[in-house]
Symmetry: C2
Subunit: 362 residues, 2 copies
């Protein structure tokens, strides 16, 4: 039923080797023969079997992507970035996301063996490190959001970003600043909390336990956290949420509570997901070049897969350029919109690299 290279060979009265040579333009073959083979392949609708080919060439032109269980615009953006970059290099993406448990993730990692040339892995929880021992041996890996051991990694400047945003709130005159903390087991959440505390400490502004409310990175979590913040003995005048989803949840909770933003309560988020500029009032946030994270991960994988094509990315014998540092930390920028009052620059336009993201369909 399905037509193989052997069928084409028989039809064109040549050997399979010749068919392979024609179709891959490897080795010399007579024009006449070539034409005959090509015609036969066309007529039989021959399509080479990718799996079989990669078995011998050990090149799959596929990159594996393993993501944890958490959904949302952040992931969509990462995947978008990965996809665009991969496609640009002629690669596909083998996606395996939404893994609830480390065990599941390990299974996913294993199943990628022999199917991908490289891997992009985003570790979910702090306790997922041992997963890395089970990485397929051959394929290069780039870690997202976590720098662990000697693996090449791409992380976000969580600490710096959070600190910058809280500094901004302090500069606006706020002295009672609450925060909605991210999921407990999450590494980014921890760093953002540290950044928040660092900014307060610098300014010698006291912090209080009742101002640090646990969230879970979801909109609902942000919504729920507002109750505790409003009920605090000393009510904060500003809220820094550890991500935009929680900030958006907080905005709706505040609206329901009749607390006006930003006049009675300033609100800021983290990530600057596309939606942030559309909410009412537009949300101030720590801009993370999310899609860029994906494209950059692919670029690094490409450099590892094709060293000869990317000499500039290699570490020379002497110098180690920043391009090759195994751990790359992505800078963040502040995007100040109306939700935190102050000199709201209307709607800061995201960097050009993010342009085009608003195209949509249908």
């Amino acid at each position: 039923m399905t037509v193989t290279i052997r069928d084409v060979a028989r039809d064109a009265k040549v050997s399979v080797a010749t068919v392979s040579r024609v179709l891959n333009a490897s080795g010399p073959v007579h024009p006449t023969t070539s034409a005959r083979v090509r015609e036969a392949a066309e007529r039989l609708r021959y399509v080479p079997h990718g799996g079989a080919r990669s078995l011998v060439t050990s090149e799959t032109y596929t990159l594996g992507v393993v993501l944890p269980d958490i959904y949302g615009e952040f992931f969509s953006e990462v995947i978008r970035g990965l996809d665009a970059a991969a496609r640009g290099h002629g690669y596909h993406l083998l996606l395996s996301s939404a893994h609830a448990s480390p065990a599941e993730m390990k299974a996913a990692l294993r199943s990628m063996r022999g199917r991908v040339d490289g891997l992009v892995v985003m570790l979910p929880d702090l306790d997922a490190l041992e997963l890395l021992a089970h990485l397929p041996d051959g394929a290069p890996v780039v870690l997202l959001n976590r720098a662990v051991g000697q693996f090449p990694a791409l992380t976000i400047d969580n600490h710096g970003g959070a600190r910058a945003m809280v500094r901004h709130l302090l500069a606006l005159g706020h002295r009672r600043i609450g925060t909605i903390v991210g999921a407990e087991s999450n590494a980014d959440a921890g760093e953002r909390l540290r950044g928040y505390r660092a900014a307060l400490a610098e300014a010698a502004v006291p912090r209080r336990a009742e101002w640090e409310v646990r969230g879970d990175f979801t909109e609902a979590g942000g919504h729920a956290a507002v109750g505790a913040l409003l009920a605090a003995a000393e009510r904060p005048t500003a809220i820094f949420a550890a991500n935009d989803a929680m900030a958006i949840g907080a905005l709706s909770a505040l609206r329901e509570a009749g607390v006006r933003v930003p006049h009675e309560m300033a609100v800021a988020g983290f990530d600057d997901i596309p939606m942030a500029r559309y909410v009412d009032p537009p949300l101030s946030s720590v801009h993370v070049p999310i899609a860029r994270l994906g494209t950059r991960a692919v670029e690094r994988l490409m450099a590892m897969l094709h060293p000869e094509l990317h000499p500039e990315l290699q570490s020379g014998p002497g110098v180690a350029s920043p391009m090759v540092s195994r751990h790359e930390k992505c800078a963040t920028t502040l995007v100040i919109r109306r939700s935190c009052g102050g000199r709201a620059s209307g709607d800061a336009v995201p960097p050009a690299s993010e342009a085009g993201r608003d195209a949509t369909f249908p």
Copy 2:
């Protein structure tokens, strides 16, 4: 370097067949031997080579996804649905999106041969039909957004949805209703335009060419279209945009032009992307269960791949249940928010099946 089944066999002093039997629990093997093999595999960190395995079993546990060039929240949602469903069935996703030209898409389709068990294909333009002739023969296919030939397809009720929304605007008293049309070559765009016209015709409300402005499904396109609409000899009092991205672009253009929504101009969109309820004012839209489209596509593929497991999805010799009709049209519902005035039911909550989509990270 990379350890194969042969290495394990040698180490455990058995044949490769026995190793395979142990690891797949196929065929009888002595407990002692089994333990020895298992131990060896563990110690050598053996991971089976998926490609090689699927070459002989011709099962890849992977579903191919081929999407056109257009980005946006709509696609993220589809992919999210596909991914969740695929994972639920133990399948991976091989993603190949962002294909600019039919030729590229054809190449993508070809390269999937031997790598996937089934395919979800979204055709971009009207002229992309001939692509289907180049589908890999063996694998079952589900078409998204287009019903073509005998292929199983999942489509949106574009015509009905558009008509319902325009009817709603008419019921609110609007008689001059403009529309921002989608990309010319796009099938959905055409159907939505027909739905718009049908609603006007029913109500015997005249339509004018100057009220039908071409857009391209992007926010920028929607923004630009507003200029023409406002400059019309008879200015409309309502705008129906063929998708939400354009509607959102229109909202910002109207704000810039000082036209208040909904008082001076009602606005409605199509798709009900998650962002729709967050814009200001919240956007009335035709709700499409976007993620559901993805999960449903996977379900149908599963039914085709494992007929024995999904007897309820099979067409019995007698009855043809709606479950098995090759072409399934997804119903839409109206979600009325503030952007079109009228009895804005505040913020209609999306159906439960879409719940949880707001969870996000980090």
